[in-house]
């Protein structure tokens, strides 16, 4: 079997929390990511979805090695980069770039756009002397900005334009993988669609593989070939887009999809089965034993508290970590208005 472009093998990230002052509790461990396996093929788009605290952003920071995992391997074309030092990481940094959520705090306000986009070119020696400006202008044009605006500062641009600057910066190093952490969630609806279309055309033209993180299930469905659903630091279900959205098998995936309010119902698109979870996700400091979802799950039995369910293939290429995995009952899916 050939190695995929990117593979996470049983990756974990446990953070130590330190108490301070007289409020100090004993040191605790936050299991932000706990035993995650993921693969990404060249040119593929993998979506990571889940609610706050599920570990999706931590996973993004592990893939880009902004964090060093506490366990597991991160393989880029077969090379383990999990514990490389900064110097030996540098060639891999070029291959994996990150797009951030907030276009305001992720651009240095005191640098011109030309400097922001050009930094990667200089760091990785990607252009001949004197060729930097031309390449920067090419990149700005590629993301739909006026190439003559390279001398401007970030505050002179709108939110959507700033996000395009962030994208141009990520493209500068000609990466094979772009990790996009909530790239459109800070933008207004109409601007969000513009940026999504831009990312889509870049993907098809440049063949870049994406790890696309979002909490908006519509956005993820639109953009991704394959989707992994995370809950409390674990992947609970993973599979091709259509299988996952049309026949989700993990109760959490079903609840998540059912909770999304869909504008289509006004035009008569049949609503999904209605599932309401009680409460909030538990704390990753002290996750439930066995299956982590069992405290909010309506299917939970005794076995769920004692045995941690493994990710098992339940449908073609669709893996589910649940003792009682099953597609939603047909009668409920068909329940149309």
């Amino acid at each position: 079997m050939t190695e995929p472009l990117l593979r996470l093998d049983n990756v974990a990230m446990h953070f130590r929390t330190k108490g301070d002052g007289f409020l100090a509790r004993r040191n605790q461990t936050v299991q932000a990511v706990d035993g995650v396996d993921l693969t990404l093929a060249a040119g593929e788009t993998l979506g990571l979805v889940g609610e706050s605290g599920c570990g999706k952003s931590t996973t993004a920071r592990l893939i880009t090695r902004l964090l060093e995992p506490t366990a597991g391997r991160i393989l880029v074309e077969g090379d383990d980069i999990a514990h490389l030092d900064e110097r030996r990481l540098r060639p891999y940094r070029k291959e994996i770039q990150l797009i951030f959520q907030d276009p305001y705090s992720s651009l240095n306000p005191r640098h011109t756009v030309g400097a922001i986009v050009g930094t990667a070119l200089r760091t990785h020696n990607l252009v001949e002397k004197g060729g930097e400006l031309r390449r920067v202008q090419e990149l700005l044009e590629l993301v739909g900005l006026n190439p003559e605006h390279y001398k401007r500062y970030p505050h002179e641009f709108s939110g959507g334009q700033r996000q395009r600057i962030g994208i141009a910066r990520a493209l500068a190093a000609r990466p094979k993988i772009i990790v996009a952490d909530e790239p459109v969630s800070a933008l207004d609806v109409s601007i969000q669609a513009q940026v999504m279309n831009l990312l889509e055309s870049l993907r098809s033209e440049l063949g870049i593989a994406f790890v696309f993180i979002a909490h908006d299930l519509g956005v993820v469905r639109h953009f991704c070939d394959r989707i992994a659903v995370m809950y409390l630091g674990r992947v609970v279900e993973e599979g091709p887009r259509d299988g996952l959205y049309d026949a989700p098998q993990h109760p959490y995936t079903q609840a998540l999809l059912s909770a999304v309010p869909d504008v289509g119902v006004v035009r008569g698109v049949p609503p999904r089965q209605r599932i309401r979870l009680a409460g909030d996700p538990p704390s990753p400091i002290d996750p439930p034993s066995g299956c982590r979802f069992r405290t909010r799950c309506w299917k939970a039995q005794d076995i769920c508290a004692t045995q941690d369910p493994a990710l098992i293939e339940r449908a073609p290429a669709q893996q589910v970590a649940c003792h009682f995995a099953a597609p939603p009952a047909a009668s409920l899916v068909a329940e149309a208005v």
Binding site: E51, S52, S158, G160, Q161, D188, V189, S190, I191, Q192, A193, Q194, M196, N197, H215, D216, L217, G218, V219, R221, H222, F223, Y245, A255, L256, L257, S258, A259, V260, P261, D262, V263, G264, V265, V266, R267, V269, P270, P271, R272, Q273, R274, I275, R276, L277, A278, G279, D280, P281, W298, L332, E335, V337
Partner: protein, 354 residues
Amino acid sequence: MTSQTANQPRQAPVATPYLEVSDLRVTFPTPDGAVTAVRGLNYSLPLGRTLAIVGESGSGKSVSSMAVMGLHDPKSTRISGSIKVGGQEIVGMSPAALRKHRGTGAAMIFQDPQSSLHPYFTIGNQIVESYRAHHAVSKRAARERAAEMLNRVGIPNPRRRLDSYPHEFSGGMRQRAMIAMALVNDPKLLIADEPTTALDVTVQAQILDLIQDLQRDFGSAVVFITHDLGVVAQVADDVLVMYAGNAVEHGTVRQVLGAPLHPYAWGLLESLPAVSGEPAPLHPIPGSPPSLLAVPGGCPFHPRCEFRDRVPGAMCTTVAPDLVARTADPAHTSRCHLPAPDRVFASEILPRLP
């Protein structure tokens, strides 16, 4: 835990409006010049109905609702026009009368429950305070009422939770506490400004259910400000679409989301990736919303509108359209010059939607 519902729209009742906003203008002086964030807004809302106000940032949806609550600083804001809540005029009301109005006449839930609850006071203290501001009752009775409210919004162990501080609550619980505080004085009008935007989707579903539930029980009028059209489809009876400080379309949820008449509303629908149905390519609105310092003349949407070539003459750039009925349906209004917008929607836009 599992139940099924169908979206059943309620018919528009012929009732006297509880909230009536007419020709509302809100202007703030800024170093760059006066910004008119709301420019002649009109709408009304009877008791028992939910109006969703949708629009992008800077469309004036929050500013107009803060004016309804009387929350703008009179020293730095110029407000003209009229806002009547239960027959009482809010514009120009004295600060003392406004204090009475807030809480009993109208109450507001904010987006971020973290920053709108006081971190130094217990949840119980904060609810008791707002109850006693309007009712001459003992602390004990007010505490009783606070516990009752926490119980009503679905907080377990309400009596014990009264003594918790906001940081001890999760995001969803904090929003429930905010709702309890807003409803403790039985307001007839509830304004919810993006109440679920900061919440996770499974928690959002709980809070939306709760707000709808409470509205049925209390029979109040609800103004729901949001940018999420999915949320609108779930909670609203009526929808008001705002652009550059004014309403561009108004009607029932079925009219505005099912068969919209304004090109801006079409653009919003075509910008939304769907969670079900056949995936369709996104067709975003070009450009970005105008600066309120320099709102385009004529129709403020014309620089971004793909249909302005179909309007004879230079109407779109010179004549500001009125908010009027554009089809046989008099209750569905839109601010646009385009002829036969219903046919354009049915033949060109609808087939492109997922």
